[in-house]
Symmetry: C2
Subunit: 495 residues, 2 copies
């Protein structure tokens, strides 16, 4: 006989007490699969409760799979499949995720494990970090952003919390279009697509183009996150060397004839990783060349706003009368990366096609942060912040260049001297006995820099380091260069 008790004074409803006790008896094999339970009437009589309470308990046990119910007969215990527990997950599961992954995603998985972790990592406290392009958090205008965020939610209310406009928050698109005019770029609101940082902009453009056998011309070296992404989509990178004055346009012209790329990806201003900015004549020739071949350009202006010294060269997009340039911008490299807001500016049809791809992969972006950034820009905080950033980084870059000149022997390395942005590119000269692991040598001297090989599509015989000053103040920059010098000295003059 089934022995159950109910406690009328418990906070737990009676039907749940019954469910719990029967589940326990099934788990403890007191009740076995196939065994009959009492009818609702009988159990109700026995426990002196209402029949409907027993019926509710049996319904719940049925929903949970512990009993079978059929009209007119008593419930029977089911042979229920067991619940998974933490213990089960101690073992390797049934699926071989590597085999299941496509070759392309296996490839990106390998790149993920190879490329220095940078973002999202706990800082190794003692190291001075020239590796990260994260921003200096001490300069974040946190309080004014917080106020703008609150105001945006207050002003726009529920409209921000439903599905939003697919191409982004209208007023922010409008603001970006207006702001681009300050960089000589003439675009309208419907030629702007807001993205989750500029990386998503690149991702969408590559996805739009990806088809077997297609190639994309890129600078070499180039932004490290672009190479795995191109390969992931089956696009073959065609590498065009970067010279002192930018991408080698003769090499590009030859590559266009030979490889028929579907896109040229370029960072004309403060190129990542070299920090090089191309001149007006270079930009004109690049654009003419691509016009001649009806070849779209993806112009990555990730540090466009960080022109804190020297004169201003306008983006290639500013001369784009034939609408072949897709311009990619971001708030991450002057404000803060954590809002993940960037944008693409391109011909309207191109924007609409990218919206379609975005729609099915994410439905729509969140409007909340976009509205907050709009509020932040609109109330003048953005311009003031850019002013502060320019003053800070003009000094920081000067400090970095001076420290390199003072502490690094020209026999050890040569480097670029950018007039803006955050990046300096060092080419190391081969020391008499090169260390087995440059990163380990640097770490031993308390400093870290991005490994040059991440920025090439092939194994480069030279050794490069990319120094980013974005998260560091002047004191840290000077100390970091001194540590770098000590590491290089050790490589060149081993005891």
């Amino acid at each position: 006989m089934l022995l159950l008790t109910v406690d009328e004074h418990s906070a737990e409803p009676i039907y749940r007490q019954i469910v719990a006790q029967i589940r326990d008896k099934i788990a403890g094999r007191v009740l076995l699969p196939g065994e009959k339970l009492p009818s609702t009437r009988r159990l109700a009589d026995r426990l002196a409760i209402h029949r409907s309470t027993v019926a509710t308990a049996y319904q719940e046990l049925w929903a949970l799979g512990f009993v079978d119910l059929s009209p007119g007969s008593c419930p029977r215990v089911r042979d229920r499949m067991q619940m998974a527990t933490a213990a089960d997950r101690g073992e390797k599961g049934l699926i071989d995720w590597q085999a299941l992954s496509s070759p392309a995603s296996e490839n990106i998985w390998q790149a993920h494990r190879r490329i220095s972790p940078q973002a999202g990592r706990e800082d190794t406290a003692a190291l001075i970090n020239f590796a990260s392009l994260d921003m200096d958090r001490r300069l974040f205008p946190l309080e004014s952003f917080r106020a703008c965020l609150d105001r945006a939610v207050k002003n726009h209310g529920e409209a921000l919390l439903g599905y939003g406009a697919r191409a982004g928050f209208g007023p922010l698109r409008e603001y970006i279009a207006r702001r681009l005019q300050g960089h000589g770029i003439s675009v309208t609101t419907d030629e702007i697509l807001i993205t989750n940082g500029s990386q998503q902009g690149l991702d969408l453009v590559f996805r739009m183009l990806a088809a077997p056998g297609r190639t994309v011309a890129i600078e070499s070296p180039t932004y490290s996150y672009v190479l795995p992404l191109l390969r992931f989509y089956g696009l073959t990178p065609v590498e065009i060397p970067v010279r002192r004055d930018g991408m080698d346009l003769d090499a590009l012209e030859a590559a266009i004839a030979r490889e028929k790329p579907v896109l040229v990806y370029t960072m004309p201003t403060f190129q990542n990783p070299t920090g090089i900015t191309t001149g007006q004549a270079h930009r004109e020739r690049l654009l003419s060349l691509c016009e001649t071949h009806r070849l779209p350009i993806l112009e990555d202006g990730f540090e466009e706003e960080m022109k804190y010294s020297g004169r201003v060269v306008l983006p290639v997009k500013s001369m784009d009368k034939r609408q072949l340039v897709i311009y990619c911008g971001t708030f991450s490299k002057v404000l803060f990366p954590g809002v993940r807001i960037g944008w693409l500016a391109a011909e309207k049809e191109c924007v609409e096609r990218l919206v379609a791809i975005h729609r099915f992969s994410e439905i729509a972006p969140s409007m909340i942060l976009q509205a907050a950034i709009h509020e932040f820009c609109q109330s003048g905080h953005y311009d003031r912040h850019i002013g502060r950033m320019h003053r800070a980084y003009r000094k920081r870059m000067q400090t970095a260049i001076r420290a390199l000149q003072r502490h690094i022997d020209p026999a050890w390395a040569e480097w670029t001297e950018p007039s803006g942005g955050f990046l300096i590119w060092l080419k190391l000269k081969q020391p008499p006995c090169p260390p087995a692991d440059w990163q380990a040598l640097l770490a031993a001297h308390g400093v870290e820099a991005a490994t040059g090989s991440d920025f090439f599509n092939w194994e480069t015989p030279e050794t490069y380091l990319r120094l980013s000053i974005s998260p560091l103040d002047e004191g840290e920059i000077t100390a970091g260069v001194q540590r770098l010098a000590a590491a290089l000295r050790q490589a060149h003059c081993p005891d």
Copy 2:
């Protein structure tokens, strides 16, 4: 001779006045390409200003591409490429974006234009909208969310504004793992990946698997946004019919043998579009079948939290001892979609591989809204909100079902009667003279519903409508069903 004037009292710096005047003269063809400008000394003397001011102006003109400078000789006017203007963009550009798009992205572009716009669209005010799965904005807990957002930024500060953790905000991952235990799912924090809504979760899984020739088993009908996405990634959908009790498992078994799919995509609870929930026995058989074939399941629990009546069936993932289920959840269908926060729960290696794909397409998610949602959940608002939602929709669904029973003649249609969620699926019976366009007929009667054909991979000969009650209150639901009835009456009894 070059005639320039400077106004010392102007707010505009003198060098900029010079730049502006020379630019104007070049634009007006007063200065022609190749023409020499005066030396800095000569122009400085003539204008009675400092030489360095002229030098600055010439530097700026050089940077902007208006002059060539070479050491020791006078600047010469360059034949500068013109800036693009709004007028240029009136014409079609040089790029044929359709030809440039891959066949796959051309396909998704067509789907984008075909599938009813729903999200992000301005509401057609007069229509009662059963088409949208957007939520009822009148129920949004806006003020408590606003307070949580502010508190999150205040408490976590700058840490939220830098690049965040790739798999999502740690405390929110932890909360989700804990909450899933309430649904019988045992997972740890590192088995959770936070996504931009559940759509991004699906996107990442499909991208991980996509390789030519691969197939994915799906329910038919299924969620309309999944079909274009699968095809975009070159994955062929294998359609398994949905019966009254869920996916036809005999058909699935046959399809597994015949088509060797790499994944089964299923919505066991309140399936979209049918609203059908499968029973425990169905879930056990599905899981066993997939275990036997080492076939991963993508379980979409998008409305898991909306079990507002009837007993609770646990997710397939709750029994997943062999870790073959990737579970996909979201805050969009019970809280609000505008935060764009969903999650995947899967074996750790699977999560890490998805993180790698996400990293290169977006770097990292924004932490700000994730921290706000964590604050919202943590302080009990989420549970209270779910309680309110259950009370509201239990009544709304009853209202909808009753209105259908009262107003729709069984000779016109049959429909599902879900015990939770927001979706009711109507199969229309063929009227004597079917309208050329059902949507137009509905619109003429002031009501809108999602077109059944969006949910099939092929042209279905039957006519279906999906009614979503998510944005509507009881009065709107009743009125909407009456309008629907009037439309059906007209189709069946034309004058």
